[in-house]
């Protein structure tokens, strides 16, 4: 996915950038300095976002689209401005194609219910793969069960990429949906969205892209390559929890029935039946995560002030260093593809030290990572390990923090009497 990069409004200096994230400078309860390498789980939020949230809550808190009063007007204008920022950020054709949800999970479920259950029938095929997050597997399992459609999995190559040699066999006129993550949250694998989108469209299928991990780190353009649905979360994009986005192509959103029902998504309600509002309201039942959506708009401003070129340069440097140093560290096995094929996520194991123990010992040194199956049990079955340790970088991480990671591995091995 590529989009004309916005011109960043400031030169990138990681130490300068870190000052925007006060949490990075606070000592942890145990006195250690935070080395936050768990950005794949949730990112930290810059002051700009925190201040925007406070501004909404403390100066024009009101419900949107309803109140004829100054607070209500202001908050409505701010919310719609955030929607337009998101529209431009992913290059959607119109802001009505940007639906506010509670997160990636909700965005995918919305499509699974409102598109999947309406348009899939027995014999149809949903194409997914084993590296997907549970949020992009379980909704399709349930939709397959409910509709009689069949789930098919694209096999993975030994290094954890989609095996393109199976595309011809698997993407056929039976295929109605290709659901795929743009970046694996465990292996970091960058999937060939352009090729999958083209092939899906050739056979008349729809492509849904899970952008939870990619959108915060890479430019996204839903029109090049043409994507039908895109799901992502605010909280991984330096924004608040409680808000996410579903982008959907107008034609598809129009053809779908609403999912959640209630206020705002209706046109008229009569005793026995109702008619639906226009996009985007049709899919936005009830009070939106108002402050959160506006906060997400601020997060996007922040990302664009840095520019993806600078973000990518910094994250690549960290990834390259981690991929270089980790294999040199005794006992370490890393999973997933080589540098060219991945975003800034590395999962690994250390021989004789369980990932949970690793994470705990790392924490003693302030190094925050995640250990477990990272909501990808099928992938861990495929990797044949029950858990891995994962580091996931953001642009505010430093090369010194990669060194801290390596030191932490030595510390854990030492504690486990392995060195």
């Amino acid at each position: 996915m590529s989009t004309p990069l916005e011109t960043p409004s400031r030169p990138f200096d990681v130490h300068d950038v870190r000052r925007d994230f006060p949490i990075l400078a606070r000592p942890l309860p145990n006195g250690a300095t935070l080395v936050y390498l768990d950005n794949g789980a949730t990112s930290q939020k810059p002051l700009l976002v925190l201040d925007k949230l406070r501004e909404v809550e403390a100066t024009y808190n009101a419900n949107v689209h309803r109140g004829i009063h100054q607070l209500g007007d202001r908050v409505t204008v701010e919310l719609e401005a955030a929607r337009e920022k998101i529209q431009r950020f992913v290059n959607a054709a119109e802001s009505a194609e940007i639906i506010f949800t509670s997160g990636t999970t909700m965005s995918i479920n919305l499509v699974a219910f409102a598109w999947g259950r309406k348009f899939l029938k027995p014999g149809d095929e949903i194409l997914i793969n084993e590296m997907e997050h549970h949020a992009n597997i379980v909704p399709w399992q349930q939709t397959a069960k409910a509709t009689g459609a069949k789930l098919r999995y694209i096999p993975l190559t030994a290094d954890g990429r989609l095996d393109a040699s199976h595309f011809d066999r698997l993407i056929t006129t039976k295929t109605k949906l290709v659901a795929v993550t743009a970046m694996s949250n465990v292996l970091g694998t960058l999937n060939p969205i352009r090729e999958l989108a083209a092939r899906a469209h050739q056979v008349g299928a729809v492509i849904l892209v899970d952008g939870a991990q990619s959108v915060p780190h890479l430019p996204t353009d839903v029109r090049d390559p043409a994507i039908d649905f895109l799901a992502f979360s605010g909280h991984k994009l330096y924004g608040p929890t409680g808000v996410g986005v579903l982008y959907g192509r107008r034609e598809l959103l129009e053809a779908m029935d609403p999912f959640l029902c209630g206020g705002n998504m209706i046109n008229e309600v009569h005793l026995e039946s109702s008619t639906w509002a226009d996009l985007p309201s049709k899919f936005e039942a009830g009070t939106l995560p108002i402050a959160e959506a506006i906060g997400l708009g601020a997060a996007i401003d922040y990302v664009q002030s840095l520019g993806f070129a600078a973000i990518h340069a910094q994250e690549s440097k960290l990834l390259e260093k981690a991929l270089r140093l980790l294999p040199q560290t005794p006992g370490v096995t890393i999973y997933g593809p080589s540098f060219e094929h991945r975003g800034s996520i590395v999962s690994f194991t250390v021989e004789k030290v369980h990932p949970h123990d690793l994470a705990d010992l790392f924490d003693q040194k302030g190094v925050a990572i995640r250990a477990g199956h990272h909501c990808t049990m099928p992938l861990h079955d495929w990797l044949d390990v029950s858990a891995t340790a994962r580091v996931s970088f953001a642009f505010y991480n430093t090369e010194a923090e990669v060194d801290a990671l390596i030191d932490a591995i030595h510390y854990a091995r030492h504690k486990f009497r392995l060195e």
Binding site: N30, V353, H354, P355, H356, D357, D360, L361, D363, Q364, A371, G372, H373, M377, H380, S386, A387, K415, F416, R417
Partner: protein, 146 residues
């Protein structure tokens, strides 16, 4: 405090566990898995006619905390009566470990304990008294996610 989480007591049990393996003829056995981290523990007990634990074995895989805790648990329960096992509670188990655990790690430290408790519960529910329970060599008497 946390600094001492991986102290010699835990690591010794992890590296040289007490009664890790299987009993030839367990009176009862049970397995569980923490799907969040993949940790697995199976516990097998041999009870005698007076309702005392004669032998306790565990098997499993997972982090140092879950495995050491199971080892410590087996050592602790031998010689105890079924009644005493009933009275044995989570805080007792955590105390046995001698290290402070955060909420997240308590799931690891208590996995073996949970297996034991589930087993005690199924013993209660069973119509025959414990001593007459059929022995089991299959992976689990009580079907669980193990």
């Amino acid at each position: 405090m946390n600094e001492e989480l991986y102290d010699d007591y835990i690591l010794d049990h992890y590296e040289c566990p007490y009664h890790k393996g299987h009993l030839a003829c367990p009176t009862c056995a049970h397995s569980e898995k923490n799907p969040l981290c993949g940790d697995q523990i199976r516990i097998e007990l041999k009870l005698n006619d007076t309702g005392h634990v004669e032998e306790a074995f565990f098997n499993g895989k997972g982090c140092a905390i879950s495995q050491a805790a199971a080892s410590i648990l087996c050592q602790h329960v031998e010689g105890k009566t079924v009644d005493e096992l009933h009275r044995f509670q989570a805080p007792d188990m955590l105390r046995l470990l001698k290290v402070p655990l955060t909420a997240t790690r308590q799931r690891c430290g208590l996995l073996g304990f949970k297996v034991l408790k589930a087993m005690m519960y199924s013993l209660d529910a069973s119509p025959t008294p414990p001593a007459q329970q059929p022995t089991a060599n299959d992976e689990s008497i009580v079907a669980t996610s193990g």
